[in-house]
């Protein structure tokens, strides 16, 4: 294979064809030949990606230059190959027609070797540029596909808000860390550890998948930001990264919706012999939010007593209970029917916490 490229000469006159082949070989090209347009198209089709330039005679039997050119331009695999039309001086009107049909340039017979060399150089350069563009386009497309897939994967793994944040201009600032009042809802399952010990991994994943799907729907409906799934434990916060004036109300409504839907799931599970209950803890307070982790592995997370409080309330909740911290209770009062649970001693906290259970929405 020649480094310079490969040309296809399509000409029915054997004298002209042989001379053109020779001249092109002198210029350092590999040359393929065809005696008419139909043969030329067959050679093009049989050598995909090989031919860098076509020298096309206009007056030919079988398929003439116009028809050949039209067929090339109609074919995605051939459209980009430069075509130099070879014609006599008398045929300048046909040259115009060929250029209109998409020919790159023309040469008049008898062919001047210097002009041939110049036209070939230009055509090969154009073809190389096209090939490079094509390559770069393909790379770009592949890259875009990867980015798109990563984004989709991200939005599957992260909450959509965080996924959007990662790719937004103001995202970097928010990711760097900021302090804000948030509502944290922490949910987990009663009886899960026991269930997990007794069951096959497939069963456990099946139950978790149903549970997470239900949770995910409720989270999305209420605009919560999922911080993480940890087995049966799920932490969701509100008012960040998207500000929400009604963040406490959203969290409580979400928890109530989850509790309702969970009872439907639980009755199905009950028939299969799984005894699982659902508990939620909700707390309001300031936290520092942003990127947590180390190089190569980060989470968007919230750090503050509020997350600990929500988690501890959740672990104290009986099946079916949604326990509110005192501050959450104050902020939501009037919207819910609640019952006082009394003071709870929570692990890691020095003072007892006055907790209330959400009985129903008002």
């Amino acid at each position: 294979m020649s480094d310079r490229g490969t040309a296809l000469v399509v000409d029915d006159s054997s004298v002209n064809r042989r001379l053109l082949v020779k001249r092109l070989q002198t210029l350092g090209l590999d040359v393929l030949e065809a005696e008419n347009g139909a043969q030329g198209l067959a050679v093009l089709a049989a050598n995909p990606g090989v031919i860098d330039v076509v020298l096309l005679d206009v007056v030919m039997p079988e398929l003439d230059g116009y028809q050949t050119l039209a067929a090339m331009k109609a074919d995605d695999a051939m459209r980009h190959i430069p075509v130099l039309v070879v014609s006599s001086v008398e045929e300048l009107d046909s040259v115009v027609r060929c250029i209109e049909l998409g020919a790159t340039d023309y040469l008049t017979k008898p062919i001047n070797p210097s002009i041939l060399a110049a036209r070939i150089d230009a055509s090969l350069a154009a073809k190389r540029l096209h090939d490079l563009e094509q390559e770069s386009l393909e790379r770009q497309t592949a890259l875009n596909r990867t980015i798109q897939r990563q984004k989709e994967e991200l939005s599957r793994f992260l909450s959509p808000q965080v996924a959007a944040l990662v790719s937004s201009p103001e995202g970097e600032q928010l990711l760097a860390g900021h302090r804000r009042e948030i509502t944290v809802a922490f949910c987990d399952l009663r009886g899960f550890t026991h269930f997990a010990e007794q069951s096959d991994p497939e069963e456990i994943f099946g139950v978790l998948a149903e549970y997470h799907r239900m949770m995910g729907e409720a989270i999305t409906e209420h605009g919560g930001t999922l911080e993480h799934f940890a087995g049966d434990g799920v932490m969701i916060f509100f008012n960040d990264p998207v500000p929400q004036d009604d963040h406490v109300e959203r969290a409580v409504r979400m928890a109530v919706a989850m509790r309702t839907r969970f009872s439907e799931l639980a009755s199905v599970w009950h028939q299969r012999g799984y005894e699982l209950g659902f508990g939620v803890g909700i707390a309001v307070g300031y936290a520092t939010l942003g990127r947590i982790g180390y190089d190569g592995r980060h989470d968007y997370g919230a750090i503050g007593n509020v997350t600990i409080l929500a988690s501890r309330l959740s672990s104290q909740a009986q099946a079916g209970q949604i326990l509110l911290s005192p501050r959450a209770q104050v902020m939501i009062e009037g919207l819910v029917e609640s019952e006082d649970i009394g003071e709870l001693m929570l692990k890691g906290l020095t003072r007892p916490v006055q907790a209330t259970n959400v009985v129903a929405l008002r």
């Binding site: 006159s13 004298v15 002209n16 020779k22 002198t26 007056v59 006599s88």
Partner: protein
């Protein structure tokens, strides 16, 4: 200097051809031999088209004869073929067409002789 179009064989064209194809005497000889074998085919095509009064059928053989003749320096034969091609393109065979075809045959004999002489001269160099 005589009008190049009036020459039976413009040897300058052959000299240039030789020079610009890498001074490969065998190649130019091959090319001339190809031409010598092709011309009768085109003349036959021209005769047939005129006999059948088919102007369209005249275009291609006349065109091929024109361009290959000019390529090898057979200027006058090129010119006669060009006239025939134009006649064919006009869509109507005039009375001169047969006369031009006869002229092409006569010119072809002269070209044949001149090319053979040129080849002999090259071989003796």
């Amino acid at each position: 200097m005589p009008d190049a179009k009036a020459l039976v064989l413009d040897e300058a064209v052959l000299a240039e051809l030789k020079e610009t194809t890498g001074d490969d005497p065998a190649f130019v000889r091959d090319l001339i031999e190809t031409y010598l074998a092709d011309v009768p085919v085109q003349l036959e095509g021209i005769d047939g088209a005129i006999a059948a009064s088919d102007a369209d059928a005249l275009v291609r053989p006349a065109h091929t004869l024109k361009s290959s003749s000019v390529t090898l320096g057979a200027m006058r034969l090129g010119e006669i073929s060009r006239t025939l091609e134009m006649t064919g393109r006009s869509g109507a065979l005039d009375t001169a067409a047969r006369g031009n075809a006869d002229a092409a045959h006569a010119e072809w004999r002269a070209v044949h002789e001149a090319l053979n002489a040129w080849l002999a001269e090259q071989a003796s160099q």
